[in-house]
C-alpha cells in the first residue's frame, strides 16, 4: 500500500503549509452537481437502465464493506461474494418463507452476515496476507456448492424467487415482490432507485464516520504495523474481528439490495467472479478512500452494463480482457486507483502553489 493512500489527506497536509481554513467552494459545487445528477438520472433513462443503476448501488455497498476490511484494515478478502450471497439468500428466505416485511429482512441480512463475518474473522487472526486471500478464495468457490447442497431450503441451482402473498380478486396468492411508491407517484424502478440510493448514502456516511473516528485510526494502525498498534494500546484482535464483522454486514446489505432489485436469485450470481468484481471496484476507485468504491462501482458498471453490450456478440469477452489488463496496469502505475491519482495530482498542484507562494515571499523580502 502506497503512502499516498495511507492516511486520508496525508500528502496534501504534508506538502501544503496548512492554509487558513476556507470554504471549499470546489467541493461544494461538485457535491451539488453530483446530487443533482443522482436525482435526475432515473427520470432520464429507461427502466432497465435504472435497474442497472440499482445494481451498481448493490456493488458499491458491498465494495464499501470490502474497502473497510481490505483497504483500511489490510485484511485481503477474495471471498466477499459469499457474504453478498449470504445476505441475498437471507433476505429472500426471510421475505418468502417467513413472511417478514422488506426492511426488517434487509436489517436481519446485515446482522446475519455480521455474525458470519465474525466467525470468519476469528481464524483470520492467525491467517494473514496472501494466505487469508487463499482461504477466502476457497470460501468464495465453496459458496455456490453449499447453496446446491442445501437445495431443499435454497432452491438449489434453479434459484429462488422472492414472493409475497398478495390480495387479488381470486384470493391470496404468492406474487413476485414489487417495491412500490406510496400513492404510485413514481414508477417502480424510480421508487426502487431512490429508496436504495438513500440506503447507499447511509452506508457511505456510516463508513465515513467509522473511518474518521478513533476506531478508524486504529484500523489503519493495525494495517500498517500490528505490533506498533498493539504497543500503542490498540486491541488488535478485537479491531480485526469487528472489522470483519462490519465489513461482512455491509456486503450482506449489498446482497440484500441485489436480491430485491432482481427479485430472483440463483447460485450462479454468487460465483468467485463476484468477489473479484468487488476487489476490482475497490482498487479501481481507490483502496482506503471512502468514496473510492462508489467510483469504482460506477466505473465497473459503465464498463460492463453500458460499454460491453455495444460490442458484437463475438467480442463480448473483450471487456473483461481489457478489465484485466487495466487492473494490472493500475497496480503497476497507480496503486491508489482513481482517487489515488486525484490525490497525487492535487498534492502536486498544492506543492506548486506553495512553491510559488514561497518564491513570491522571497522576492518580496529582497525588494
Amino acid at each position: 500500500m502506497s503512502d499516498a493512500t495511507a492516511l486520508g489527506d496525508g500528502p496534501t497536509a504534508k506538502v501544503a503549509p496548512s492554509p487558513a481554513r476556507r470554504v471549499p467552494v470546489g467541493r461544494v459545487v461538485v457535491s451539488v452537481v453530483v446530487a443533482a445528477v443522482l436525482v435526475a438520472l432515473p427520470f432520464m433513462f429507461p427502466a432497465f437502465r435504472v435497474e442497472q443503476f440499482v445494481g451498481w448501488m448493490a456493488l458499491a455497498i458491498a465494495a464499501c464493506g470490502l474497502n473497510l476490511l481490505t483497504g483500511y484494515n489490510g485484511q485481503i478478502s477474495v471471498g466477499h461474494g459469499a457474504l453478498y450471497g449470504t445476505g441475498a439468500y437471507a433476505t429472500a428466505l426471510l421475505i418468502t418463507d417467513l413472511g417478514w416485511p422488506v426492511w426488517p429482512s434487509v436489517a436481519a441480512a446485515g446482522v446475519i452476515c455480521f455474525v458470519v463475518g465474525v466467525a470468519i474473522g476469528l481464524p483470520a487472526l492467525r491467517i494473514k496476507g496472501l494466505y487469508l486471500a487463499l482461504v477466502t478464495l476457497a470460501v468464495a468457490t465453496l459458496f455456490p456448492l453449499i447453496i446446491e447442497q442445501f437445495s431443499s431450503i435454497t432452491g438449489g441451482g434453479s434459484g429462488l424467487s422472492i414472493t409475497t402473498p398478495q390480495e387479488t380478486p381470486r384470493g391470496v396468492i404468492e406474487r413476485p415482490i414489487r417495491l412500490e411508491s406510496p400513492g404510485g407517484s413514481l414508477a417502480p424502478d424510480q421508487w426502487k432507485y431512490f429508496v436504495f440510493l438513500v440506503l447507499t448514502v447511509v452506508v457511505f456516511v456510516v463508513m465515513r464516520n467509522i473511518v474518521r473516528s478513533r476506531t478508524g485510526r486504529s484500523l489503519v494502525a493495525v494495517r500498517d504495523n500490528e505490533t506498533a498498534a498493539e504497543v500503542s494500546g490498540v486491541h488488535v484482535a478485537r479491531v480485526k474481528i469487528l472489522t470483519f464483522g462490519v465489513s461482512s454486514a455491509m456486503a450482506g446489505i449489498g446482497g440484500a439490495v441485489f436480491a430485491l432489485n432482481n427479485g430472483r436469485i440463483n447460485p450462479s450470481s454468487f460465483t468467485i467472479v463476484v468477489s473479484i468484481y468487488f476487489l476490482i471496484a475497490v482498487v479501481v476507485g481507490g483502496a482506503a478512500s471512502v468514496i473510492g468504491p462508489a467510483i469504482g462501482a460506477v466505473a465497473y458498471g459503465l464498463f460492463i452494463d453500458v460499454l460491453s453490450p455495444e460490442l458484437p456478440e463475438r467480442f463480448k469477452p473483450a471487456t473483461p480482457v481489457i478489465l484485466g489488463v487495466l487492473l494490472i496496469l493500475l497496480m503497476l502505475f497507480a496503486p491508489g486507483g482513481i482517487v489515488g491519482m486525484w490525490r497525487t495530482s492535487a498534492a502536486k498542484r498544492a506543492a506548486k502553489r506553495a512553491r510559488a507562494a514561497t518564491a513570491a515571499a522571497a522576492s518580496g523580502d529582497t525588494v
Partner: protein
C-alpha cells in the same frame, strides 16, 4: 469394498492432477514467494493451445509438448510484464493479489475471445479404455496421470537437486539478494520458474479437460484443490505437493460419497484442510517453518 476401491482409484487419479497443478504452484512460491491465483487459468489457456495444435491434425502427445512450450511462454511473459514490476508479495500483498487476479480475469476472457464460449472436446491422452483389477475398473487415463506425475516430479527433483541451474534457482529462493551478489541472474531464473510452472500446469489441464469439457472455467475448482494440496504439503515442498495432491484427491472423492451432507461439496474437505493446516500447522507436512526476525 469394490465400490470403495473404485472411489479410491478415482481419487488417486484426480489427486495426480491436483499434484501436477500443485507442483507448478510450489515452483512459483519457491521462486517468487507468492500464491499464484492465475495458475489454473494459465493451465486452461495452454490447454486450449494443445487443443488448437491437435485440431490441426498433430498427434496429441506432440500437441501436449507444443502446449507446454506455449504455456512456458505465457508464464514467462506473465512474470515479466505483470508480476515482477509490482514488487515484493509480502510487502504489498494486495497489489500482488490484484495482479494475479488481473491475470485470472484477463486469461479467462481471452480464452473465451479466442476459442469461444462453448466447451471443446479434448480426447484423453491415454485413450478411453481401462483395465480391471479385482473387479475394479481403472481407466488408463488415471494410471497415465499417476505415471506422468511421477515423471514430472522426478524431473523437478533432478533439476533442483542435481543441476547447476537448479542450484541457482534454489539460491534465488533461499536468498535472492545474496544470490544476485554472487552473480546468479535472478530475474532470468524467476522468469524460468514461472515458465516451468505454467508448463506443468498445461499437463494438469490436459488431464482435467476430457472429464470436465475444455472450457474457460474448467480449472477453477482444480485450482482450489491444487492449493489445498500444497497447503497440506507445505508451500515450498515438491514432495509435499505430491503427497498433498493424493490426500486431497482421495478425500474429495471419498467424502462426498460416504459422508451424508457433503454429496455436492467435493470442495468442502479441501477447504477444511486448507483452514485447519493454516491455523494449526502453517508450514504443512513437509514445508519449512517461516521464522520472522523481529
Amino acid at each position: 469394498m469394490t465400490d470403495f476401491l473404485q472411489v479410491l482409484f478415482v481419487g488417486i487419479g484426480d489427486g495426480a492432477i491436483y499434484a501436477m497443478l500443485g507442483l507448478g504452484l510450489v515452483v512459483i512460491y519457491r521462486s517468487t514467494g507468492l500464491l499464484n491465483f492465475a495458475q489454473g487459468e494459465m493451465a486452461m489457456f495452454s490447454t486450449f493451445i494443445v487443443w488448437t495444435v491437435w485440431d490441426l491434425g498433430v498427434p496429441l502427445p506432440l500437441a501436449v509438448i507444443a502446449g507446454m512450450v506455449g504455456g512456458f511462454g505465457v508464464g514467462a511473459l506473465a512474470h515479466q510484464i505483470a508480476v515482477r514490476p509490482v514488487g515484493d508479495p509480502h510487502e504489498k500483498p494486495l497489489a500482488v493479489v490484484m495482479v494475479t487476479i488481473g491475470l485470472f480475469v484477463g486469461l479467462n476472457s481471452a480464452a473465451q475471445l479466442v476459442w469461444g464460449t462453448l466447451d471443446r472436446d479434448l480426447p484423453p491422452l491415454f485413450g478411453s479404455g481401462g483395465i480391471e483389477v479385482a473387479g475394479v475398473a481403472i481407466a488408463w487415463q488415471k494410471i497415465g496421470a499417476v505415471i506422468v506425475l511421477a515423471v514430472l516430479a522426478l524431473g523437478f527433483y533432478l533439476l533442483f537437486q542435481r543441476t547447476g541451474l537448479g542450484l541457482a534457482m534454489r539460491a534465488v529462493a533461499s536468498n535472492s539478494e545474496s544470490a544476485s551478489l554472487v552473480g546468479v541472474p535472478v530475474p532470468k531464473l524467476l522468469m524460468l520458474g514461472w515458465g516451468l510452472a505454467a508448463a506443468v500446469g498445461t499437463v494438469a489441464g490436459v488431464f482435467t479437460a476430457p472429464g470436465r469439457g475444455l472450457g474457460s472455467n474448467m480449472m477453477q475448482l482444480t485450482l482450489i484443490f491444487g492449493f489445498a494440496a500444497i497447503t497440506l504439503g507445505g508451500f515450498d515442498s515438491l514432495l509435499g505437493a505430491v503427497v498433498g495432491g493424493f490426500v486431497v484427491g482421495i478425500a474429495s472423492s471419498v467424502v462426498p460419497q460416504y459422508v451424508p451432507g457433503f454429496e455436492k461439496m467435493p470442495l468442502a474437505p479441501a477447504f477444511i484442510l486448507i483452514l485447519a493446516v493454516l491455523l494449526f500447522r502453517p508450514e504443512g507436512l513437509f514445508g519449512r517453518k517461516q521464522v520472522q526476525r523481529v
